[in-house]
Subunit: 229 residues, 2 copies
């Protein structure tokens, strides 16, 4: 199994967390961020694998996949013990519902907030627009209110078992906890408990170690900035 990606990108981290959670062997191919962008450089083999020019890519025998949530869903459901038991409708219904909520409700305001308050200052881009930030915080707060209510009666978002839904939150949640927006998490007791619990999950600790240990050796510049935070 081979993953083409950029380990400081949250999309790639989502896949890595799945691979570590499932204890799957894989080879990581660090892709140059310049080539991964809107590329003029078309001669790399991996470019033919990604029609939308997006990373990461998973190669599993003759299977090529792109789209980080598609890949994490595939890895989580096709490997390990979940394929051995009958897929229960109720469990599937709950997971699919919260998978879409992460993608459509949590991720848009949370990712934008990270971009405006974390990456923009880090990359010395223009200072964040306060009204934009306030608007995003307000959107994210509404989502986290729903999460807090859900987490009042279960350990993880879909019940008392760690699931793909929790995994999909890890990369952005990690960044949220590294900037001012962490207040939005800390002031909601159930969300805060859940955040600390899933961010301490061995698979996520291994993702952070992998970044530190040079899985992204060709991004030393960006990595050095990243580690200052």
């Amino acid at each position: 199994m081979k993953v083409y990606g950029c380990a400081i990108s949250t999309s790639t981290q989502r896949i890595l967390a799945c691979l570590y959670e499932k204890q799957l062997d894989f080879e990581f191919v660090a892709v140059d961020i310049e080539v991964a962008g809107p590329a003029s450089n078309n001669n790399d083999t991996f470019l033919s694998l990604k029609p939308f020019r997006c990373l990461p890519i998973l190669q599993d025998d003759d299977i090529n996949m792109f789209g980080s949530r598609a890949i994490s869903n595939y890895l989580f459901n096709c490997y390990g013990n979940r394929m051995d038991v009958e897929i229960k409708k109720k469990k599937m219904a709950t997971e699919l519902t919260w998978l879409e909520m992460e993608s459509k409700s949590f991720d848009p305001p949370a990712s934008s907030l990270i971009f405006h308050t974390f990456y923009k200052p880090m990359l010395r881009m223009i200072v964040p627009n306060k009204s934009v930030v306030l608007g995003l915080e307000s959107s994210l707060s509404k989502v986290l209110d729903v999460y807090d209510a859900q987490l009042a009666h279960c350990t993880y978002l879909t019940g008392d078992e760690f699931s793909l839904v929790d995994i999909n939150h890890l990369p952005i949640l990690h960044l949220i906890m590294a900037c001012n927006a962490k207040n939005l998490v800390q002031c909601r007791p159930n969300v805060f408990r859940w955040a600390l619990l899933i961010l301490a999950r061995p698979c996520w600790v291994k993702v952070l170690e992998a970044i530190d240990n040079g899985i992204t050796h060709n991004y030393s510049f960006l990595l050095s900035i990243f580690n200052q935070n």
Copy 2:
């Protein structure tokens, strides 16, 4: 099985297309668009089912789901003959990949384009900003180029079998074909062939008939505008 929704919304149409494709019995509960919005009116039972205040909602025995792509995935995979056969990894990988591409690459520019060029003039909102429209057309064109290449060697997006991926495209694709953006489809021969093929699918014809036959009787105003186009 019960669906709470607004039949002129593309999210609800996605679920209806799945229900008709799988020939499942269901009761449709038309929800007042005012209540479905950012509601002050909290006394309806259905409001307790939708923490993110989004429609549609599916109730299947004791299962409550929200998020239209989650619901369509559930209906498509939990009912009919697909649960009787072993889920093949390769098929799952292909479908998941294209499901995410629809959600993350096709839907954002296509939905925005529909909003700016179709709904805004229809609802007598300010005229569309030309540079915004051009930008969206450019984004959608890049996506459709990838689709055209994919559809050069298969009938449907994931192969020679109609899949949930095709279903998820129907509501927005139908609107695209009803406005100027249809040129973006017509100039790509494989996309055009695919669009005509899936829009003629009996499940989609039934969705349109259901709208015409008053499934949305309490949206007569919006419906009357809709039908003029």
